[in-house]
């Protein structure tokens, strides 16, 4: 270091939080390779975030799994405060209930943020599924809820379809600004890497109609 270089000490500032809720399909159809890849993807995601100090202090993760039932696998927490659960499969696909649970989780967390008076980044809900939701699922209702919420800037919603997923349903529930994406093969790893990069981008972009995300390399070219 040359003499007379600028150097200074920075204060300890509390990182404002960004919540990311993962609503994951663990129905019977995910058994075998898909669930293994998903588990691996989650581990990689965990490691990615831990590596970046800023994101590690900023990103709160929550995991909800749905099959014939909905389960809160993980309450919102910073990476330092949990270890990734390992998911197992069974049952059918209660997609709508799963996503509704995620929405409720987002609202609850926002309440907590408001109680402490801290500003927060707009939360993300990511739904990953490989199949058709059960026939008794209220897809219409969910569509309305998501549309209203996104227009009200309550959260960001992204649906990911794994091989064999019904993209039409996902397209229906998603908002036109953020259409569903089809995962390339089982590239959960690439998806989660992109997600962690997006998390840091989210924190620097100002709220507007479009979020400038890094270019995804895990999609299978299904875009509208």
């Amino acid at each position: 270091m040359a003499k007379n270089d600028f150097a200074a000490e920075s204060p300890d500032n509390y990182e404002q939080k960004c919540l990311c809720v993962l609503a994951l399909d663990v129905s019977g159809s995910m058994a075998g390779k898909p669930i293994d890849e998903l588990n691996q993807g989650l581990e990689d995601f965990y490691d990615e975030i831990q590596e970046d100090a800023t994101t590690a202090n900023r990103l709160e993760i929550s995991i909800i799994t749905f099959h014939s039932d909905v389960k809160n696998e993980l309450e919102p927490a910073l990476v330092d405060n949990f270890t990734m659960p390992i998911l197992t499969t069974k049952g059918s696909t209660k997609l709508v209930d799963g996503v509704r649970e995620a929405i409720a989780k987002v609202e609850a967390r926002k309440q907590w943020y408001k109680e402490t008076g801290q500003p927060y980044y707009r939360p993300w809900i990511i739904a990953i599924t490989d199949g058709e939701p059960d026939s008794d699922q209220d897809v219409e209702g969910l569509t309305q809820e998501i549309r209203t919420a996104i227009e009200g800037k309550k959260f960001v919603f992204l649906a990911i379809g794994v091989q064999g997923a019904n993209m039409d349903t996902l397209k229906q529930i998603s908002h036109s600004d953020m259409p569903p994406q089809l995962l390339q093969g089982l590239k959960f790893g690439a998806f989660f890497k992109w997600l962690s990069a997006s998390m840091s981008t989210v924190t620097s972009s100002k709220p507007g109609e479009q979020v400038n995300l890094p270019t995804p390399d895990w999609t299978q070219g299904f875009t509208t």
């Binding site: 007379n4 270089d5 204060p11 990182e15 800023t54 801290q118 980044y121 620097s204 100002k206 109609e209």
Partner: protein, 575 residues
């Protein structure tokens, strides 16, 4: 014979001004001496309390200049020699017991002092321990200092500086009193001298005049008696000459009329001395005390550096750097600094922010010139400033819209925030729309913030120049302030820099409540100010300083390195 008398008369009259001139010279000399003595005191005070070259007057930039200044004023009177003798008389044995000859010791020190170019750092004229004094108090004659361990103790420093300042003030008082006394003596002499001389001259003139008149009369009577008839002819001729005279005098009358019509101060006959030739004495004699910042001798000037660096996340999403900044001098040590942060979600906000910084700076520059605030060294009232600021920002907003139309883009795609600071040695004027931070440091070395960023409930939510704020409650969105406290440094930053340089996000460990103290972090800014001063005073070229600043903003510490948003920081210091 008449001529002779006339010449004598004129000569006597003419001497008056010359005598006066001599007195003026004497006065000038006293003034000059007083100035020199005061400069000696300044040099002495500086050397005795300053440890670093940056504390020297601004007009001393190089070691050569410093040497010149010291050689001229510090060594006048050879205080070293006096001191050496004093110490020699009192402490010779002590040094002998240390196995060192006193003369040799001082010889080395003095020669080192005078010949080495790097004079700063070798002030150790003689070590304090040589006085065998346990405390500064018991060693009154030691008006020099040393670099040793004693200096580390702040209480010594403070005591030292205080006594030095006292001594300095007393010395200046003494010099002034003496100079004034001398001036008084001269003036008194002047008056009495001149008065008596005046009287003499007047009496002499009157006598001479009377003699001349009487001689003339006698001659005339005599001539008339002798040549009566011839004189009558002469008289007639005189009459014709007399009749021509009015023509000659008319221009004179016209001139005097013209003089009366023009605005001149002279209605009485012109004074004996010429104001141009003998200018009034220097102000130094009139003032009795010197203000503590010693402005007549130390004129500090603003030195401003700025930088905008792209954020990590912008690189990843292939966005350009959307921050921009600009600063320029207005004149008389006033200037304008602007920072604009383009909205991440707006596609062409980098163009918007660049346009905004240029136009805003220009508009505020013109505002200052129009109101002449810089030459008058006058700050507007809070109300006037807010009004002017709003007008300027409205104008700039309209310019942005026209620019957007020309570029065939949506105005909202050029969205950005803006912070504008007009800086001067007497205060600051600030106005802003959106977020970012700004602060200044006062002469007591306290850093204070001067704006509150506009933030929404969501982190990073804010308003922009292009937001729909202009028709509603615009006063809610444009914040303006007039800072009347004198600044020695100031800063403007975009929000990308706020986590590294401000305390802006704190959670109370007990109540778990979050707050934004909006406090500039002194441990961040103070070393930067010091480094900037050093770089400038060492004569580092501007682009080199600029490059260092740029790399600092990019990765100067871990927090800056980890920041994903674009970072802009302008820092100005009075050097």
């Amino acid at each position: 014979m008449k001529l002779g008398f006339a010449i004598l008369f004129i000569v006597l009259l003419g001497n008056g001004p010359y005598l006066y001139a001599a007195q003026q010279d004497e006065k000038q000399q006293i003034v000059g001496e007083a100035i020199d003595n005061i400069n000696i005191q300044i040099a002495k005070y500086f050397i005795n309390t300053r440890l670093r070259p940056k504390d020297f007057p601004y007009y001393i930039q190089t070691f050569e200049q410093l040497n010149e200044f010291l050689n001229r004023y510090y060594y006048a009177g050879h205080p070293l020699i006096i001191l050496v003798n004093q110490i020699n008389n009192a402490k010779n044995d002590y040094l002998n017991t240390q196995g060192m000859s006193l003369d040799k010791f001082f010889e080395n020190r003095i020669s080192v002092h005078l010949t080495q170019k790097k004079i700063i750092g070798n002030y150790n004229l003689s070590p304090h321990w040589a006085c065998l004094a346990n405390t500064f108090e018991s060693c009154h004659q030691c008006w020099y200092f040393d670099w040793g361990w004693q200096w580390d103790m702040k209480c010594w420093q403070d005591w030292w500086k205080k006594t030095q300042w006292q001594q300095f003030q007393e010395a200046i008082e003494k010099i002034m009193t003496e100079a004034n006394a001398k001036m008084a003596v001269i003036e008194a002499n002047e008056k009495s001298h001149f008065a008596s001389f005046d009287q003499l001259v007047t009496i002499f003139c009157v006598i001479v005049l009377m003699i001349l008149v009487s001689i003339f009369l006698i001659l005339i009577i005599f001539a008339i008696k002798k040549h009566k008839h011839r004189f009558l002819i002469k008289m007639n001729r005189g009459k014709t000459i007399l009749s021509q005279k009015p023509n000659h005098s008319q221009p004179d009358n016209a001139k005097s009329v013209a003089n009366n019509n023009t605005v001149t101060e002279k209605s009485s006959p012109s004074p004996l001395y010429d104001r141009e030739k003998f200018p009034p004495t220097q102000p130094i004699i009139e003032t009795k005390t010197i203000s503590s910042d010693m402005t007549p001798w130390i004129i500090k000037k603003w030195f401003v550096i700025g930088g905008s660096v792209i954020g990590k996340s912008h690189i990843e999403s292939q966005l350009p750097c959307q921050d921009n900044h600009y600063h320029e001098e207005i004149g008389n040590n006033w200037g304008i600094a602007v920072v604009a942060d383009g909205a991440g979600s707006a596609e062409y906000s980098h163009f918007g922010s660049q346009f905004i910084v240029q136009k805003t700076a220009r508009a505020f520059h013109e505002l200052v010139i129009k109101n002449d605030w810089h030459q008058q060294n006058q700050l507007p009232s809070n109300k006037d400033w807010h009004l002017s600021a709003k007008n300027v920002l409205t104008e700039v907003r309209e310019m942005l819209e026209s620019y957007a139309n020309v570029q065939q883009r949506e105005t909202k795609s050029l969205a950005c925030t803006v912070i504008a600071v007009i800086y001067s040695p007497i205060g600051l004027l600030i106005t802003h729309i959106g977020d970012g931070r700004a602060a200044y440091c006062n002469w007591q070395n306290e850093w204070k913030s001067i704006m509150i960023p506009w933030k929404g409930e969501e982190a990073n939510a804010t308003v922009f120049m292009t937001s729909d704020i202009w028709h509603q409650n615009i006063d809610h969105f444009v914040e303006s302030r007039v800072i009347t406290e004198k600044p020695i440094a100031f800063t403007l930053i975009s929000d990308g820099c706020e986590k590294s340089s401000f305390e802006c996000s704190q959670v109370d460990p007990i109540t778990k409540k979050w707050s934004d103290p909006n406090k500039p972090y002194p441990k961040f800014f103070k070393p930067l100010v010091t480094t900037l001063k050093n770089l400038k005073q060492e004569g580092t070229p501007y682009n080199e300083i600029q490059a260092k600043w740029h790399s600092f903003l990019t990765a100067g510490n871990q927090t800056l390195k980890d920041e994903s948003d674009d970072k802009t920081m302008i820092l100005g210091v009075l050097i």
